[in-house]
């Protein structure tokens, strides 16, 4: 287990290096000069001298290869630099805003799990019942409704018309409800279907029949064996989605005026605020990797059929 973990952690290094490389290339491929973007964002007239001065200040006048290695060296030292726009250390900008984003992502995941585990499980057990039809409808809607639209609809009915929740902002538990639902509906759609499919598959397995013939209680078979095993693919999905969720909060943060990092990132893109963009990419890459790692570990625990030795050779 320990060796497996160490190996996985070492594998993180090339992935992050690749992410930095990709980000570096993509930002430089854009036709927009960050110095120009900075001055435009500040409403300063971009004279040639001023542009040259800014390029030098941002280190953009050096050869690309030097810039690249400097970027890597800075990130390795956890030096994310200062934002071009706010002139504040990016790390500070991140730590002020990330809690709000994490909070929203976690609460959405929680809602998604609370709804989709019983729904997916029961709709498989009671296949073709009204509950199953309902879960299918919900999955269909969840997969097809765009998040920003759903956000507006929820605000319109539940905040403006029914006056149950605030329209925007953050602070009380009421502020969580609408953005969490908006963000979790797509997840509910995926997880419910995943769980339903894998429960149906497990129900066909011989051990279920064996359990029944041994006279074990149906509830016991379902809870202790079927659910435990069939939840595995859903967890994989969850792990993959955690990272995606954190980066996917951007739209919901915008619609609900949630003061998270996603909003800050959108502005950074418009302003070509490279230090912010690169920190976000590195952070997102790390999150994806860590989430996947955690899920793999949980799966080892949940499904004995996945041998630790086997996974260690990945």
């Amino acid at each position: 287990m320990v060796i497996y973990l160490i190996k996985r952690l070492f594998a993180v290094v090339p992935i992050i290096l690749f992410a930095i490389f990709l980000m570096f290339v993509l930002v430089r491929l854009s036709p927009v000069d960050p110095a120009q973007a900075y001055l435009a964002a500040s409403n300063i007239h971009p004279t040639e001298e001023l542009l040259a001065e800014k390029r030098q200040e941002f280190g953009l006048d050096r050869p690309l290869i030097v810039q690249y290695f400097q970027t890597v060296a800075d990130i390795v030292r956890f030096d994310f630099g200062n934002s071009y726009v706010t002139n504040t250390p990016v790390w500070q900008e991140i730590t002020t805003r990330l809690p709000a984003t994490l909070q929203l992502a976690l609460s959405s995941i929680l809602v998604a799990i609370i709804v989709s585990v019983p729904l997916g499980f029961l709709s498989a057990v009671y296949k073709n019942s009204w509950l199953d039809h309902f879960s299918r409808l919900l999955s269909y809607l969840g997969a097809s409704i765009p998040q920003f639209w759903l956000g507006y609809v929820l605000i319109f009915f539940f905040a403006v018309k029914l006056d149950l929740f605030p329209v925007e902002g953050r602070g009380t538990w009421q502020h969580f409800v609408l953005p969490s639902i908006t963000l979790s509906l797509a997840l509910i759609a995926i997880y419910t279907r995943l769980l339903r499919a894998s429960v149906l598959e497990e129900l066909e397995e011989a051990y279920v029949l064996y359990g029944r013939t041994r006279g074990l209680k149906e509830k016991g078979i379902m809870a202790k064996h079927v659910l435990r095993i069939s939840i595995s693919p859903m967890l994989t999905g969850l792990g993959m989605n955690l990272g995606k969720l954190l980066t996917g909060t951007i739209i919901v943060e915008q619609v609900f005026s949630w003061p998270g990092f996603g909003r800050f990132f959108i502005e950074a893109i418009f302003n070509r605020d490279i230090p912010v963009i690169q920190s976000y990419v590195v952070l997102a890459a790390c999150l994806f990797i860590v989430c996947n790692l955690i899920v793999d570990i949980i799966q080892l625990y949940l499904d004995p059929r996945i041998s630790r030795e086997g996974r260690a050779q990945f």
């Binding site: 287990m1 036709p31 927009v32 000069d33 120009q36 973007a37 435009a40 964002a41 500040s42 409403n43 300063i44 007239h45 971009p46 004279t47 040639e48 001298e49 001023l50 001065e53 726009v85 706010t86 002139n87 002020t96 805003r97 809690p99 709000a100 994490l102 909070q103 976690l106 609460s107 507006y152 605000i155 319109f156 905040a159 403006v160 006056d163 605030p166 329209v167 925007e168 902002g169 953050r170 602070g171 009380t172 502020h175 915008q254 619609v255 609900f256 005026s257 003061p259 909003r263 800050f264 502005e267 302003n271 070509r272 955690i294 570990i297 949980i298 080892l300 625990y301």
Partner: protein, 539 residues
Amino acid sequence: MKIHNSKKNLFLALAACAALALSACSDDNAAGSADAESDNPNSITMSWPRDIGPMNPHVYNPSQLITQSMIYEPLVSYEEGGEVKPHLAESWTVSEDGREYTFKLREGVKFTDGSSLTSQVVKKNFDAVLANKNSHSWLGVINVLDKIEVVDELTFKMVLTQAYYPALQDLAVVRPVRMLGEAGFPEDGDTSKGITEPVGTGPWVLDEYKTDEYAVFKRNPDYWGESPELEEVTIKIIPDAETRVLAFEKGELDLIYGEGVVSMDSFNYLKETGEYTTDLSDPVATRTMLVNSTSEKLSDLNVRLALHHGFDKQAMVEGITLGLEEKADSILSSNFPYAQEDIEAIEYDVEKAASYLDEAGWKLESGGAIREKDGQPLELELIYDKTDPIQKAMAETLQAEWSAIGVKLNIAGLELTEQIERRKAGNFDLDFWYNYGAPYDPHSMINVVAEDGWGVAEAHSNLPMKTELDEQVREALASTDETKRQELYGTILTTLQEQSVFIPISYMKKTVAYQNNIESFEFPANRDEHPFNDISVSK
């Protein structure tokens, strides 16, 4: 058993981490945005699309003009019709050669740190700005400012390198020429890297602030001037325009104010409900098309005139801006100083447009759709900011309108910075352009007509009277004679209109929508100023 236990521990640890993360998250918002909604009946809540920033009076982004203008005050203020009135400076005299301005400061003005407004502080402010002159070169007065001399406690002299008549108008802008108190300066006096606290003389003081969430401003109890009626203004940060409208409808906001802060559809919707008051300001700027006279096909005046005559401006403005902007016949709207009443409008006239093109030698072959000359098609490119829905819609309309007179218009949506880059490089046929509004215009507008570096003077460089035009601009800016200046403005604006190097499209306006408890709302004359001093609420 042992393995099982370690798995169990791992699980517990993970659960604990999650719980910790959640509790850590909820701790820091104990005083959340709900608190921002004040119980004070003499207060209002409005929204702004972006965080208000560090409120440094000497730098730009990310500080927002609206809140900078609440805290910091100018030496002189810009009023209706371009009149400049005393503000922190009680009076001033200008030397005969127009190079020395001697200001007398108002007595008894206090900064919010308790210190007094003196000539020394004014000098310190200007010195901080001059230390970064490069960043402020867009503002004429900074460009020609040589130094500030302290005469006595309340008198100081502004010495210019050359005469520049709009110096006073420039001193009324929001940044970078408003006064920061002594306690706001960092130790080395260089404010370009940040200030220690927002200390101003203005009618408002920042009371509570949460990045990206809200800012609460309280009335300054020691304000030297007439105190605002309101006691408190809360500005909520709502980046999304639709959410802003929904929050307003629910009553979480009392006021939606600004330029482009709601979509035109939403504004009309709010207006039509009849439940709120909505209003439009006087024109704040002109939406214009910049025509590149150095481009081969557009170097011919007849082609430029044909384009100007060749589209139904009224219909385009009504259809696209839903009546929220007003058709513009002249580049400078009449509420600006030196606007010319007698400038002849270039009206929509397809036949005239066609005859101009015929005259220029661009002929339409029978059965053809695009005019040709020497085997070359009349094909032009219009660049626009792809994130601006109005520019996009207008570009598409023009494409259709001009195709009717045999012009093929290619439209290219670009990122704003790329649009600016191409404008500066002269790499375009047509481009959207805006003048700057009060208090920057009309002097800033004519300045870029003559000065290279903005892409406008370059685009006009092919005009036969370009040297003369530049000379007239320089003379107008340096002139100390009001009549002469009026005359020069007349000639400049007429030339620009007749040459059709700018095609005025519409006058842009600010919008406001407010709940019915708000009384006496007035749009500030200065485009960047806040409107809170005049507002009162019914109790």
